[in-house]
């Protein structure tokens, strides 16, 4: 039984390989496309059809121009992929965790392009290249602007440069429209809370960049070169933002505990009921064009709770 199963698998894989080779020749470009990735120059002379992405932001970039990846390193939890992205792309195969994706699962998918994250996957870059041409870009430590740049590079590599540029222009418009509905210069601080820790995402972080792009201001979290910093209640009090946006990874989180403490009521955001709750997965893990738009939408909904804008 197992033998027949495996041989069918092998056969289908072989025929897939044959067809993908066939489509290679049909998809060969007259002029190869060359871009700069985190390891130097990346050149591709065909239009990739079977793409595996190892970070959510790359799936977001593909979905933004209507391309479906065949495999995503989704930590074996499809709900971690942004709902707006999930709506666009076809069902995919999970290739494991983002930190240690399963190379044999990736190889079994017979990809013709892999998009990897320089911060997580540099150690296996050579192995990935043995499976398929690998575009390696920043994702994990990236800022909002870097993420848009990475999307533009992905657009070129998959032969959808025009569509991607149009999508990025539309993105700027959408973000500007959200910015109009939001107060200018109000100090907003985002943080993710777990059972015993609160990590603030500072001005250098992805969320900090989105907040700035929407015309809001980042709180001064102190001189720190890190995009994320752990904070105690007293430190939070000295930062004292106008609005505090919390993503709870667990319930109850440390913020729920702090709410019962007398110090909490001194917090400006607590006094004026300016503490807002968002989905931490969207705000911290997803990153990307549609993720930023969802964050803008979240903020508009939170600042104007009575006139919920229609979900796009």
């Amino acid at each position: 039984m197992a033998l027949t199963c495996a041989s069918t698998l092998l056969f289908s894989a072989l025929s897939q390989a044959a067809s993908s080779h066939g489509s290679h020749s049909a998809n060969t470009l007259d002029k190869p496309i060359t871009v700069q990735d985190s390891k130097g120059t990346f050149t591709i002379d065909y239009r990739p059809k079977r793409i595996v992405v190892l970070e959510f932001s790359f799936a977001d970039a593909l979905a933004s121009v209507g391309v479906s990846p065949i495999g995503i390193a989704d930590d074996k939890d499809p709900s971690r992929v942004l709902p707006a992205v999930r709506k666009i792309i076809k069902p995919w195969t999970s290739v494991g965790t983002r930190s240690q994706p399963s190379l044999e699962t990736i190889a079994a998918l017979k990809p013709d392009l892999i998009i990897a994250d320089i911060s997580r996957h540099e150690g296996v870059y050579a192995d990935l290249q043995k499976i398929a041409p690998t575009l390696i870009l920043p994702s994990r430590r990236e800022t909002y602007q870097d993420s848009l740049k990475a999307a533009a590079i992905i657009g070129k590599v998959i032969g959808k440069n025009k569509e991607m540029q149009a999508r990025l222009a539309k993105h700027q418009k959408i973000m500007a429209a959200y910015a109009k509905q939001l107060p200018k210069g109000v100090v907003v601080q985002f943080g993710v809370a777990r059972d015993d820790t609160l990590f603030l995402h500072t001005a250098d972080s992805y969320a900090g960049g989105v907040i700035r792009a929407l015309g809001l201001a980042n709180a001064h979290t102190g001189k720190n070169d890190s995009a994320s910093r752990q904070t105690s209640l007293e430190q939070l009090l000295s930062i004292n933002p106008d609005y505090l946006i919390i993503g709870n990874y667990t319930h109850p989180s440390i913020v729920d505990k702090w709410e019962k403490e007398p110090l909490w009521s001194v917090l400006k955001a607590a006094r004026e009921h300016h503490i807002l709750y968002v989905n931490p997965n969207v705000w911290s893990r997803c990153r990307g064009i549609m993720a930023a738009e969802r964050m803008g939408q979240d903020l508009v909904n939170l600042f104007h709770p009575n006139q919920i804008a229609p979900q796009q």
């Binding site: 894989a13 240690q100 399963s102 997580r120 540099e122 150690g123 192995d127 890190s226």
Partner: protein
């Protein structure tokens, strides 16, 4: 003759685990596919030749090296609870690796093994400098444990102040065979010279087992023997850890199991320990890869899951 039966059994176990490691993974292959996988250009060539085979060989090498180091340390310290960890080598390597990952996030990851190796060897040199080579084993052990704890707490401190790097650092610190392939095996090969060196020490280690005074009166040069045995253990551990990260409990559990199965004669114990270590790590990595595919757990978690209860049981027994 009966002495060879456990050897035979454990060898059979080792070979079946090697075959199982080639057959099973995120995708199970048939024996036919596995054999075809050794030919370049075949469909499963990447999975077998570039992925599972080097990883299996690496598990054997690293398992054997860590276990052998453990047996040497236990032989010298003459305490079944001793392990290479008490020399501070793996923690030193861990500290060096974490410092490198946190303060040089943009430099190439290909330097990580060299940095970790240097860290491990430095930790051993610091221990030697503090203790000198004539001090008692108990002083050596206690100083080593203190240093190891110091390195571990420094790692904790660094990860607290630089939270963004926690994921990569933690992953490395649990010890994993993921993403290791032929280049890492090539890096380990020169260190295999140490294995015959270690086996050569078997007879003098037997003398040491009788107690230091007896060993001296029987003609063993105890201080030199201790120095060489520990140096070999340090080098084996540092080399293995630099490739795979500190895989916990292997250096403690494998020699102990081997002593139970094969007795305390080092001529039998040392090779047996290597076999047991290889079997344990092969088993841990097989489970780590197949328990919930396509998720890959670090093999170090599995050895800890196996090792921690064994360690506790050992502690209770030795009371």
């Amino acid at each position: 003759m009966s002495r060879y039966i456990p050897f035979f059994i454990i060898s059979v176990l080792l070979i079946s685990l090697v075959i199982a490691n080639l057959l099973f993974g995120a995708i199970s292959l048939s024996l036919h596919d596995v054999l075809r996988g050794f030919q370049p250009g075949s469909d499963s060539y990447f999975t077998i030749h570039e992925y599972r085979l080097p990883r299996t060989l690496l598990a054997i090498l690293v398992g054997a090296m860590l276990a052998l180091a453990g047996a040497l340390v236990q032989g010298v310290i003459r305490n079944p609870l001793a392990s290479p960890d008490i020399l501070g080598v793996s923690h030193g390597a861990g500290l060096a690796a974490v410092v490198y990952m946190i303060y040089f996030p943009h430099s190439s990851i290909s330097w990580l093994p060299a940095v970790a190796l240097a860290g491990g060897l430095c930790a051993a040199l610091i221990l030697w400098w503090l203790c000198g080579h004539r001090s008692s084993t108990i002083k050596l052990a206690i100083t080593g444990v203190a240093l190891a704890t110091f390195y571990a707490s420094t790692v904790d401190f660094l990860m607290l102040i630089k939270p963004l790097e926690i994921n990569n650092a933690l992953l490395w610190l649990t010890g994993s065979l993921w993403g290791r392939s032929w280049p890492q095996i090539t890096m380990l090969l020169p260190w295999l010279v140490l294995i015959p060196c270690a086996l050569y020490l078997a007879k003098p280690l037997n003398l040491l087992h009788l107690g230091e005074d007896s060993a001296v009166s029987l003609g063993a040069r105890v201080n030199l023997l201790r120095l060489i045995a520990l140096a070999v253990a340090v080098a084996l551990t540092a080399a293995a850890v630099s490739i795979c990260g500190p895989i916990s409990f292997l250096g403690l559990v494998a020699p102990h199991l081997a002593r139970k199965l094969f007795g305390g004669r080092h001529q039998a114990l040392l090779p047996a320990t290597m076999l047991v270590g290889a079997v344990l790590l092969l088993m841990a990595d097989l489970v780590a890869r197949t328990i919930d595919p396509p998720i890959e757990l670090p093999a170090g978690i599995m050895t800890a899951v196996l090792g921690a209860p064994y360690f506790l049981w050992l502690l209770i027994r030795t009371k």
